[in-house]
């Protein structure tokens, strides 16, 4: 084998699922110590590709070599034995166990607890990842939980570390800590395969990038030498136009929240603590925060699914804290929860039925309780047409749509109801770049028409792009909204709570 100095060589990998080719003839190489970015939109085939490298999915065609030897892992355990480790986007940790116990659960032959705790301390200090092995995982922030996963990998002394969207749960300060660790690992010769769609991060961190579009490699480049814009256009395959903000003067206050405190109905949820803000007509308020800091609860409290003190929520001056979702819809408030299947939409119901789900009140789809199915179908067809939802028809079940298409349908359904107040949690989560741009534009257009908009999102770039004012949720409390213009990324990071667990870092 003449693989030279390559650590991992991937040649012609192909994987097809019924109806879709996830990867088609994908080839690239990673050198020891290289930080290699895998770049692409949602559905471009990044996940399938790394699952094949990690042994979770078997390729249909193609071959891989690792350090010159044939590499075809049949399961993740085989991949780990060959020196390939992976940190998933969604953690697999037990909240009721401590850090060392969680690490031990992921090992083939765990050493004694005390010995393991010692090694965890040692690795965490060596790589600047402060972590106390005796703490309960349930008490850790998302950033700290990620460190548990990383340290679990590092204890295996991997040659290749795969990281799937690692920064989506981190504050900017925590991202800095992570990057320092990754650079150190790379300097010691560990290669890193870094999956992301955040272009500035990739420019800051990665040596090489492979760009995927619809399952194929469309370009390779050196990220430092390209602008984020160039890479985005390679990723999407089209020229992108960022949405234009609404410059009109703002109107009267349409949504007013005063001293909103409610207990979370969700197990391990975050209760809201004394939240106050006001949104005027034509204004977009962006609310940032690391996942699990009260975003879901805030949406429930605003939509009416979670009731509060009567005066805590006011729509155009009317106190609605004790009223349910439909009473609030009558007053012009629409909302789109983060979870599409099961919350914003019923998975087994057709798109027509799902259009009725939240549209019946404002679109007048019932008379004396009897459903006008004809008008409902027309409404569903309008949403599909206007928001470019790709579906064979409105009769298909919601669960048959891809995540991005269902998101377009759900957001479209709410925005098509001539709302005066809009509340959206994660408007473009899992949606491809072109569709995300059109959803953002639609939100800004509704604001220009005089709607007051609250966008809750974990995507800072998105908030900076569309929000007039910016606030952050941290542990159920919200910062005072500030104009987005002129905010620095450091200030935003501090609003989001800075870096969790830094006290330990200073000691170390």
């Amino acid at each position: 084998m003449k693989t030279g100095t390559d650590l991992l060589r991937v040649e012609g990998l192909t994987k097809a699922y019924p109806g879709v080719v996830a990867n088609s003839d994908v080839s690239f190489t990673i050198k020891p110590g290289e930080v290699h970015a895998l770049l692409g939109e949602n559905g471009a085939g990044k996940s399938t590709l790394v699952k094949m490298i990690y042994g979770l999915v078997k390729p249909d065609k193609g071959r891989m070599t690792l350090r010159g030897a044939d590499y075809a892992p049949s399961e993740p355990r085989a991949a780990r034995a060959s020196g390939v480790a992976m940190v998933f986007q969604h953690f697999s940790l037990f909240e009721a166990l401590n850090v060392a116990e969680n690490v031990a659960l992921g090992m083939e032959n765990p050493p004694k607890m005390r010995e393991l705790a010692g090694r965890i301390r040692q690795v965490s200090q060596a790589y600047g990842l402060p972590l106390d092995p005796d703490r309960m995982v349930g008490d850790l922030s998302a950033g700290e939980r990620q460190r548990v996963e990383i340290i679990r990998c590092l204890l295996q002394d991997p040659k290749l570390l795969i990281m799937d969207e690692p920064t989506s749960v981190l504050t900017p300060q925590e991202v800095d800590i992570l990057f320092r660790t990754l650079r150190q690992l790379s300097a010691e010769g560990t290669a890193i395969l870094y999956i992301s769609h955040k272009l500035e991060e990739i420019r800051a961190l990665c040596d090489e990038a492979t760009i995927l579009r619809r399952g194929k490699v469309v370009a390779t480049c050196t990220p430092r030498e390209r602008s984020a814009r160039e890479m985005a256009e390679l990723m999407v395959g089209a020229v992108l136009t960022p949405p234009a903000k609404n410059a009109k003067p703002k109107g009267a206050v349409a949504l007013e929240v005063t001293g909103l405190s409610v207990n979370s109905p969700i197990p391990f949820g975050t209760s809201l603590k004394n939240i106050s803000f006001a949104v005027r007509k034509g204004e977009v308020l962006g609310i940032a925060g690391v996942a699990g800091n009260g975003q879901d609860e805030l949406l429930l409290a605003l939509s009416g699914e979670l009731k509060s003190a009567r005066d805590a929520v006011k729509i155009s001056g009317a106190a609605v804290g004790e009223q349910g979702p439909n009473e609030r819809r009558v007053l012009g408030l629409v909302s789109a929860p983060e979870e599409r299947l099961g919350h914003a939409a019923a998975p087994d119901m057709s798109l027509v039925e799902n259009a009725l789900l939240s549209g019946s009140v404002r679109k007048g789809l019932t008379t004396r309780g009897f459903i006008d199915w004809g008008a409902t179908r027309t409404f569903a067809e309008e949403i599909v047409k206007e928001f470019d939802v790709r579906t064979p028809g409105t009769w298909v079940a919601a669960r048959a749509l891809s995540g991005g298409n269902l998101q377009k349908f759900v957001v479209g359904r709410e925005l098509s109801q001539a709302p005066s107040v809009i509340v959206i949690n994660q408007p473009t989560w899992g949606v491809d770049a072109a569709a995300a741009a059109s959803i953002r534009q639609a939100i800004i257009d509704r604001a220009a028409d005089g709607a007051a908009v609250v966008v809750i999102s974990q995507d800072l770039d998105e908030l900076l792009e569309i929000a007039d004012n910016f606030a952050a949720l941290n542990g159920g409390a919200m910062t005072v909204p500030r104009p987005t213009q002129g905010l620095t990324i450091d200030e935003i990071g501090l609003m989001m709570g800075g870096a969790h667990g830094m006290e330990v870092a200073h000691v170390a």
Binding site: E305, S360, I371, W373, A400
Partner: protein
């Protein structure tokens, strides 16, 4: 190797075809069982499925079919609404008994007066009795988060005790020579629920069952309340998002199913049964649960399932008297029907793939 693959959307063809397939499979498996018992399987199946409808004594059996199917359908339609919303009223038997007691009590209170208003008043009282009995688990659930399955089920036994007490005490026929049981309502014209056409088996309870089927169909297909019921069962969080109050839905669904079960009890006690007696409760409230699922919680399906279930009862009785089949084998036969129905139900949401064993 067999592999199940989830369909992207439920198959409409199989939703309609599975009950037919299940009945066919039951006939085959049941035939094998009858053959093992030493009976001619074809004769047994014919006695159960054919004779009651088309045989020599069909004039009698057809009426019996409606008499048995009426209360089953009426109760099952009510239960299906709750089941669709994920609200499990298992105590229809108790509500059926209480409806009969309330209705009969009103009728007996007027004895021996005559008046057109007596029977309608009994109907109202019967529905109210069932509704009231169902409100106990409903209110306990909404106020104290108790489990409505347990509470409604246990209240069946309370209702049965009340029934015995009524038959021996308050409602006992004063001219009955000390025997337990009330006056015979079917012999008291103002309170009787006779066959509307003699010999047809069609009494007011059967009419009410048909009306309930149509009303439930319209409710589920065309009314926002029916939509909310379906939504709450399929996706509870989406239902809350749509503005459905779970507590209101519990009270509503328990109330409707209780009232319909109460009506079924009233029509039975004033018609085919005739009187409040210790053995009045015949298990319709429990069998209706099977009918509701057999009809896949769809009103029209329940209509057919109720008739089919009545057929296996009437035909099964017929087979055990004429062919000497043990009654346990008839029950096993009914069990097979339910088993095959639930088993092949899988086909509407999954597709079966046959694969040669994959080489590693």
């Amino acid at each position: 190797m067999l592999i199940l693959e989830k369909r992207p959307s439920p198959s409409r063809f199989w939703q309609g075809a599975t009950p037919v397939l299940a009945v066919a499979l039951t006939m085959i498996a049941g035939g094998v069982m009858f053959a093992i018992l030493g009976k001619n399987p074809f004769e047994a199946i014919r006695t159960i499925f054919w004779d009651p409808v088309f045989g020599e004594f069909a004039w009698y059996f057809r009426g019996q079919l409606l008499v048995k199917a009426g209360p089953l359908i009426l109760i099952a339609v009510g239960l299906s609404l709750g089941f669709r919303a994920g609200i499990w009223n298992i105590g229809a038997e108790g509500q059926y008994i209480m409806g009969a007691i309330f209705g009969a009590a009103v009728g007996l209170a007027f004895y021996p007066a005559s008046g057109w208003f007596i029977f309608p008043l009994m109907v109202l009282a019967g529905g109210f009795g069932g509704w009231l009995w169902a409100m106990i688990p409903a209110i306990l659930r909404t106020k104290f988060r108790t489990n409505e399955i347990l509470v409604s089920l246990l209240l069946v036994y309370v209702a049965q005790s009340i029934l015995s007490s009524m038959a021996l005490g308050a409602l006992r026929n004063p001219e009955g020579g000390g025997f337990p049981g009330s006056r015979n309502l079917s012999q008291y014209p103002a309170a009787a629920n006779p066959e509307i056409i003699a010999g047809s088996g069609m009494h007011w309870g059967v009419v009410a069952a048909f009306i309930a089927v149509i009303a439930a169909y319209v409710l589920l297909q065309r009314h926002i309340l029916g939509f909310h019921i379906r939504l709450a069962g399929q996706a509870p969080r989406a239902a809350r998002f749509a503005g459905v109050s779970p507590d209101r839905l519990v009270v509503l669904c328990m109330g409707i199913s209780g009232a319909l079960a109460g009506l079924a009890g009233l029509f039975e006690v004033s018609g085919p049964a005739g009187q409040i007696s210790i053995d009045f409760a015949s298990g319709y409230g429990f069998t209706a649960i099977i009918v509701a699922f057999l009809g896949r919680l769809n009103p029209l399906g329940i209509l057919l399932a109720g008739l089919l279930m009545a057929l296996t009862y009437v035909g099964g009785d017929n087979a055990s008297t004429n062919l000497g089949l043990p009654s346990a084998s008839i029950q096993a036969f009914q069990g097979m029907l339910l088993f095959f129905l639930l088993a092949v139900d899988l086909l509407s949401n999954y597709r079966i793939k046959f694969l040669l064993k994959e080489r590693a």
